[in-house]
Symmetry: C2
Subunit: 197 residues, 2 copies
């Protein structure tokens, strides 16, 4: 199984993190982003979107980090990280959407502007961030984990760009429940960090 | 089962559409958005995010339209609309992320600006739109349906805000494969429209 990977990408990191937590062997293929390798063969052939991560596992080729988390959890994790029942899948899925939308476009986008000079609208990113962090804080003040009372791919999907928010100039110090949740995630067996986390 | 609903919301429509296609009875509770009812009890108690749709089915309470699609499909649809296998779930999940992110923040946001004077950045919405529509067109030029070679919740999640793009000033006339896909969706048994579609 091969992951087309970029070290500073929070979306790639979430795949590396779940693979480590599940103790799955994944071969990392570093994609030279600055050289535009994500817009050329072989990456563009595997993912016309020209983005990483891309996972290749035999015949299976997947773009989108949330989709890769669902695949890895379902294929190799029983029901530990991605549940089986309808209500439980719905509960986790809510947070996969949050990861794909508000977390990506809030703290994730703010970081892309500050750290990589991405041509995105920083005020809009901060407005999205200011909407989502209080909701996340309120939820985590009542729950140890985002869904199901235990670690799931909901946590793995949302964690990276929230934990990297400081690289977008976002101060998390008043979000004490979010900070406690970071520590619970970091305390999981086989947790791995990335630069900035 | 009750859906807290707003007629012109594409996210609410996708839930109504799947329920109709699956022939599930859902009681619609209209939320008076202009009066701010989504920010008050009972909606805000069910969904602290203050958004619709919200689905209540017995003990199950779900926000986020993609999560509701997964729940309804899994709970009431066997594997017709949401598959069982890891690779298949991953394939569909890619498009649920696309719906939550690029489709929502591209054509969806452009429409919110034009039709409802939402305080969003229209040029950024159009830039997201201009990124996603060619990828969707290219995919649909090779595939009748977004995933698995058959209609799934991937189609139901992505369809509404693409089909409503004209209300955001977006011209789809050159996207002939997208337009053909619209017709396939509209031809499904028990399809229902919404205003603008």
């Amino acid at each position: 199984m091969k992951l087309y990977d970029l070290e500073p990408s929070g979306n790639c990191y979430k795949v590396r993190l779940l693979a480590s937590l599940m103790q799955i062997d994944v071969e990392l293929e570093a994609v030279d982003f600055l050289e535009g390798a994500h817009k050329r063969s072989p990456v563009i052939d595997l993912n016309p979107w020209g983005q990483v991560p891309v996972l290749v596992d035999g015949e299976v080729v997947l773009r989108d980090s949330q989709a890769i988390l669902v695949y890895l959890a379902r294929q190799y994790g029983g029901h530990a990280w991605w549940p089986e029942g309808a209500a439980q899948q719905g509960e986790v899925m809510q947070w996969l959407s949050t990861a794909a939308n508000e977390v990506q476009n809030g703290p994730g986008a703010a970081r892309l502007v500050d750290k990589f000079s991405a041509p995105l609208n920083k005020p809009q990113a901060l407005a999205v961030n200011d909407g989502i962090l209080p909701l996340l804080e309120a939820h985590l003040s009542q729950h140890d984990w985002l869904a199901l009372g235990r670690p799931t791919i909901a946590d793995i999907a949302v964690f990276p760009y929230v934990a990297l928010a400081h690289e977008g100039g976002i101060d998390l110090s008043s979000y004490t429940s979010i900070l406690s949740w970071f520590e619970r995630i970091k305390g999981l067996d086989n947790f791995i960090p990335m630069s900035g986390i």
